[in-house]
Amino acid sequence: MAKGLMKATGKSGLLPRPKQIFKQPFKHEVYKKPTDTGYADGILHPKKISRDYILPKVSTPEKLLKKSAMVPKREYTDEEISKMPISQQFKIKNAKMRREYLKESYETEVKRLERIEEHVAKIKIEEEKAELENKLHKASRAELYTAPTVESYLEGPLVRPRTDEENEILRSKRESNRLETKLKIDQERANSLFELYNGASNFAITEERLELMVDSAFNNTANESWEYISSLRSSSINATKSDNTFDNEIVNIVMDNVNGGPGFEQVNDYLNGFTDDLQQLADQIKRENNEKSLKEAEKLLDEHQSENKSTETETKTDN
């Protein structure tokens, strides 16, 4: 630990508190004794203790300057100084500079302290003003009678119970949630039922069918396609006929087919009449298109015929 650190702050890296330039008050002030303090009249006070407050000694900047930077009794002229040895010249010059700087520092310190005093006085006045306003402020009747107190919260129920209307809304919301979930589950079940139903066509339910399936599983035709692909060279792969399973999958998704048969949505659309409507609409559009193209063809034919006639008349006239 560095020397004198314990005396300053006891912590490294922290600067010691700045010293006060004026340890005593720097100007005279009239002391006002605060009311209701000290010893009352007729009450004795202990020995060796003053009855009244002892004011601290005032040391004004002038007094301090006179004490520590007194102006020398004799002022040397420049000529006299130039004749002196150099060390003496420096001493006189330094002393003069010190006096000037000390005076300057006292003056700036006095200004700083007065500025602080002004600021404190200003804040005090503002606080007094605010306090007076607070004292004069009276709560309005509305504020007084409508502001809830914390005690009032404890009187009734802490939580406002739901009204009948809110209860009804909550009940209907829960019911709709329940129905939505039920519908989702039912649809999933229906989908799996259709999957099973459509898949059932491939089940082996007779002995003949079982034998057929066993035979087909054990013959080598299943591997043929893979062997064919593996024997191909990279150059000829692109030329091979592509597998249409991907296309089939897309068709199944679009048409909602499951296991090669109609899915739940497709059947549902049919039962609702949506498929019939769609069919009618398609027929109607087809019919309209046909009529339109027929008209256009007739129009073109007429134009062609009229052109032929005009050419024939021109040839006749030429002849």
Binding site: P148, V150, E151, Y153, L154, L158, V159, R160, R162
Partner: protein
């Protein structure tokens, strides 16, 4: 369960005091509101506000079953000369060791005697008591004045 949540509140307020935080939030229940009101009356906290998890309410908000889970009580902590006013907040009665006292025992306890394992009340210390069969929480001295039996909930100093 209520005592368990009160224990959590006690520990939380102690931690907040040690961290010198200006505000603390505790769950909004009747017991906590009673305790917080008691703390405010005794000068351990500077303010008591209702609010949500996000902070104290600027405008009053009605407490409904839909928003009760997010409601909180916000307590303004007090510090004097850099030291917390509330330095210790401990449970006396615990879920597995309830401390009930009759009116005479409470009187003896309030006058500075030990009650069972509970250490005597120190000067400046506040003990909260829940009278038997009541939901309110009162000060030990009020309980002695009212001459009621009750459960010693917690002590603060």
């Amino acid at each position: 369960m209520s005592i368990v949540s009160l224990a959590n509140v006690c520990a939380h307020l102690q931690n907040v005091s040690m961290a010198r935080a200006p505000l603390a939030s505790i769950p909004y229940t009747r017991l906590h509101l009673n305790i917080a009101l008691g703390l405010h009356k005794e000068g351990f906290i500077s303010s008591l506000q209702r609010g949500s998890q996000n902070g104290p309410d600027i405008t009053p908000v009605e407490v409904t079953p839909d928003n009760i889970s997010t409601r909180r009580l916000w307590l303004g902590m007090k510090y004097r000369q850099g030291k917390p006013v509330l330095s210790k907040f401990q449970l006396i009665s615990k879920p597995n060791r309830r401390v009930y006292a009759n009116a005479e025992d409470l009187q003896s306890f309030a006058s500075g005697n030990r009650f069972r394992f509970v250490k005597p009340v120190m000067p400046g210390e506040i003990v909260f008591v829940r009278p038997r069969g009541s939901k309110e929480v009162i000060n030990l001295h009020e309980a002695v004045k009212k001459h009621v039996d009750g459960e010693l909930l917690c002590r603060v100093f």
